[in-house]
């Protein structure tokens, strides 16, 4: 059942992105930045966690979950360490995603000879 919800919710978030491309004529960079901010705000009011519990990867795979994870790290550290946590905690949860993207993109650039 979780697979069906993952498909429906994940697909729906992508449709929101497509509408921003086609209807509002935003560039991909504007669209992604907007979606990340939406994800951060939605987690800020405490609604992203229930969505993850409901849709699993349908909520954690789209880029909105990046905003969610940034806020999550900040709030967890805020709880544990006080006000400085707002800054020190931001990358705590997203580290694996960003690190993986940097490392493997770099390795790809070392190995692959681009055509043209």
């Amino acid at each position: 059942m979780i697979f069906l919800w993952a498909f429906l919710v994940g697909g729906a978030i992508c449709v929101v992105g497509q509408v921003m491309f086609d209807v509002f004529k935003l560039t991909p960079a504007h669209t992604m930045a907007t979606l990340v901010v939406i994800g951060a705000v939605v987690d800020g009011i405490g609604l992203y966690e229930p969505l993850v519990a409901f849709a699993g990867a349908g909520a954690t795979v789209p880029i909105t979950s990046f905003g969610n994870a940034l806020v999550h790290g900040a709030l967890t550290e805020l709880h544990d360490q006080g006000w400085i946590g707002v800054i020190s905690g931001i990358f705590k949860v997203t580290s694996s995603g960003i690190s993986a993207a940097i490392i493997f993109s770099f390795l790809a650039a070392l190995v692959i000879r681009p055509k043209g």
Binding site: T60, L75, A101, K115
Partner: protein, 163 residues
């Protein structure tokens, strides 16, 4: 002399005004309705999320992780897949068809970094790969961090941090 001026006349007739050209280009553009684009984005985007769910279930069952612990390695695996597909040129082919369906999932984030790294490889590892990797993905990181900072500040002021 007379011949060349005659030629000029010919070329003048051939040239289009920019408005004419725009109309001409519009008739040649493949027509893709917004509905069809959204359907494609929905199918591919949903399929990538289902793939993520499958990987997450594998982590949960094989390594006995909890759902929240498994989502980070799941994202990392999706990123590896995306980088490989980008390197062999498959991801961009899918992206042409799927639009936002491949851009919105985290795989699109990795694709933008990997393709920027490959594109600028010829300029060297430091000035090319290092400096350009975040050219497209940078705005996502910057706006995400700034938004997270302000959300954190609001929670700090309201005293509701870390529920």
């Amino acid at each position: 002399m007379t011949e060349s001026s005659a030629d000029k006349e010919k070329y003048k007739k051939m040239a289009m005004s920019s408005k004419e050209y725009q109309n001409f280009a519009k008739t040649r553009e493949p027509s893709r309705s917004i509905g069809a684009n959204c359907l494609r984005a929905f199918i591919i985007g949903g399929a990538i999320c289902v793939l993520g769910q499958v990987i997450q279930e594998l982590f949960m069952h094989l390594l006995h992780m909890k759902a929240e612990d498994a989502s980070n390695p799941t994202v990392a695996v999706l990123i590896i897949i995306s980088v490989i597909l980008t390197s062999i040129g498959v991801y961009d082919k899918i992206a042409q068809w799927a639009g936002a369906g491949t851009a919105v999932p985290v795989t699109g984030f990795a694709n933008s970094m990997c393709s920027a790294a490959l594109e600028h490889r010829a300029e060297g590892l430091v000035l090319g790969v290092g400096a350009n990797m975040f050219k497209l993905a940078g705005s996502v990181v910057v706006f995400g961090v700034v938004a997270a900072f302000f959300v954190g500040i609001v929670h700090l002021i309201l005293g509701t941090g870390g529920q």
